[in-house]
Symmetry: C2
Subunit: 456 residues, 2 copies
């Protein structure tokens, strides 16, 4: 007899967690819709030809691969067996689990580009899977909430993402946050400026860590990555940019000779201006020239959102990419996207105690079950509650009232209707408030009115 | 360059299908909640020790298995390689994709039985995966919507399932349906009666097909399965039960000597009585002594729901099981469950044209983009729409109006706000109804009022 357990790095979500997670998903979904994004869902698994080579070598390793069905090993040769796990994988596995929502989205756009109305704005809220080593706050199954616009290079999209974040996070109760923004073009310009043309990739990876490991270690890493000391010393302004009030003036004079950097700065200034016209006073946006977000496919704006005064790091990130579908043979589709991490947001909300107390999705009232007669009477009342839209149930067995009330209590049911012979005779039911212990005798209709008012 | 494709048997759900599917999910979820069921979600993959041996040999074959990460082949011996795919699988795969929602639910109950308030009523709406051969209407990834009560043997649960189905299906617009009910105990009694004690398993499998293949073929199959002709001839009453008005009288006299069959009949009569007290007039329930639903773990009531006058077969099924958690070493937890097949329901609703036309989740209004000045003006209007809860967007690029209107049209956006220099000067915006072509000049606030009224 097997004692069952969860697969490593996965979780069940019971009723209480589900209520909280649903609150997050619903809030995000509502905002996505209000901004004109339409829903998309893609399959949990994709052909490995779609997934492999899109996330770097480490990503390829972290893909969960599905064993081919049937006799997968029959046709393999000794050489296949002895070749090692990596080449062998390609012989016995053709499918893998979704690793993020971006590559499946790119596949969808390529496959449906003939019929999609461009620009195409889609949101997607689904789990992804990564064979990472599980640790605190890192799971092998987790949800992503993505919104992307493809098919336009209008900077409106960047401004809308800033707006969207200012819509979603306060609606979740997260009021103290910062949307950090950078532009890949500025990083490209800096690489040029310090005589390390084309090296903004490794440059990004290193300076992205400034927040975490400090200037000294970043310099070390840059040396290791092959940057000349001369180049590195030219980076000094990056470490000392103040730019509290006017983020761009200093930078513009430093990078005056780099056309591409100035273009990046100009783009950001336009986004700033549009956000202002969109009416966002005191936007919580901050230019951060060290922001690079590791990923190398961003070509314009780069976003990252941090909840302030909590332990948890970034809760959202994104940016503009100019070649989403290039790996599928369809170049030139530009897009901007943002991804929200539900698990991180959940942890922030727990830490700050932001979840609303009453969850409308749980049971509102339970009818007790004294004996056969009272049960039958209760059965005739129950449909009236439900017709009025009230989540309700009747206790299924005639057991001791204490046990029934205990059940209601553990299920956080706020009201119990007690029915005995008195109640049946008078038609006045006893409504017990489980929080206060208060009881009152009421007609069924009045109970309905009271319970529905409670929801306001 | 790879030309991307979907993995076999899987589907994307674009905006239009998502709107329809969301309507189904929301309707089902709302009903589940109104009946006091609480949400649960379990991981997409489970340890194979949890899944294997629960679905019969065919089920074991149809489980999608996940290849172990890292160097899965390093420690294998020549003997392992040569043993064939089945034994080899156990060496290189430890996890599998969820095959249904019942086994993960049983695992959850066993792992959490110390803290769950019993009876535990949960619903679960998630995809499942089966390595079946794909064909029309059969996919390798599909959603199930399950509601189960465990921890009580009260027949109220059976009655509530009948009620629940009468709640959900009409809410979806499916008004012509039949809830077929049988009881496993009756089938057990019949096996006893015809001198085939303990053979209700194969008996069920055969007579379950009566609807599909007819009496003659069923008799043939019974012979093949080892039933004596003598036993089979005693089955005659089954093929001729009328029971239109009173389903049980005939059966009771036929099975008068079988205690277990009479118990089964009595249980069904109680369910019938409770449904009546619950106020369901003209309940669309029908006793069907041939209903067995293949699966052998039902011990009491068996349900199946058919939408009438459509091609599609059953859209829901379920029943009572007395040993859900037995395979995990925890015997004696009784439960009743029902599972709704979203894909089947979707097809029925398409065939009967039952989807509501307006989907509140899509974009309601688009602001046009004539030139820079009009765009800035539009940007200042946009947040007002969103603050009023109206799904809205502004066209990102200053291209020809025709192209913008075409975009709105393809995205089924019902209203477009046209802004030019006239509109900016007067403050009266032109609201175009995309369906009628009608245009009117209105203040922003009046547009908001009009659009919000449209949603009523």
């Amino acid at each position: 007899m097997s004692k069952p357990s969860l697969a490593r790095g996965t979780r069940d979500f019971g009723p209480e967690q589900m209520a909280k997670r649903t609150f997050i998903f619903d809030t995000i979904r509502r905002s996505f819709q209000r901004y004109g994004f339409l829903p998309l869902e893609t399959p949990a698994f994709e052909n490995l030809s779609v997934l492999m080579g899109k996330y770097g070598e480490e990503g390829d390793q972290l893909l969960f691969k599905i064993l081919n069905s049937g006799d997968f090993s029959g046709k393999l040769t000794d050489a296949d067996w002895q070749a090692g796990s990596k080449p062998l994988t390609t012989k016995i596995s053709e499918k893998g689990l979704r690793y993020d929502l971006t590559v499946p989205f790119a596949r969808y756009v390529v496959m449906n580009r003939g019929t999609l109305a461009m620009p195409f704005k889609r949101y997607q809220i689904q789990p992804v899977w990564r064979a990472d080593r599980p640790q605190k706050g890192r799971y092998r199954e987790f949800y992503q909430c993505d919104a992307d616009v493809v098919g336009t290079d209008s900077l409106l999209c960047e401004a809308e993402i800033v707006m969207l974040l200012h819509d979603i996070l306060p609606a979740l109760g997260i009021k103290d946050f910062t949307v950090k923004i950078n532009n890949r073009k500025i990083l490209t310009g800096i690489a040029d400026m310090i005589g390390a043309h084309g090296m903004e990739g490794p440059l990004c990876v290193a300076i992205d860590k400034l927040d975490k490991i400090g200037k000294e270690k970043v310099v070390e890493e840059l040396l290791e990555r092959g940057f000349a000391s001369d180049s590195i010393s030219k980076l000094e302004p990056i470490f000392s940019l103040s730019g509290e009030n006017d983020p761009f003036t200093e930078l513009k004079s430093w990078l005056a000779e780099s056309e591409v950097a100035l273009k990046g700065i100009q783009e950001l200034e336009e986004v700033w201006a549009m956000v202002k016209i969109l009416g966002l006073e005191n936007a919580k946006i901050e230019f951060d020239v060290t922001l690079a977000r590791g990923l190398s496919y961003y070509t314009g704006a780069i976003f990252e959102v941090k909840a302030n005064n909590v332990q948890i790091g970034s809760i959202s990130g994104g940016g503009r990419y100019d070649n989403l579908t290039g790996t599928f043979g369809v170049p030139g589709i530009s897009g901007v996207g943002i991804s929200l991490g539900v698990d991180r947001i959940y942890d922030v909300m727990e830490e700050l105690n932001l979840f609303p107390e009453s969850q409308k999705t749980s049971t509102k009232v339970m009818i007790s079950n004294f004996d056969e007669e009272a049960f039958a009477y209760g059965l005739s009342i129950l449909p009236k509650f439900r017709k009025a839209g009230i989540n309700s149930e009747i206790y299924p067995d005639s057991v001791k009232l204490k046990k029934q009330l205990d059940y209601a209590d553990r299920k956080s049911i706020p009201f119990v209707v007690l029915i005995g012979s008195d109640e049946i005779q008078s038609g006045l039911l006893t409504l017990k408030n489980m929080k206060t212990g208060e009881q009152q005798k009421l007609k069924t209709e009045d109970i309905i009115t009271l319970l529905n008012r409670e929801d306001q």
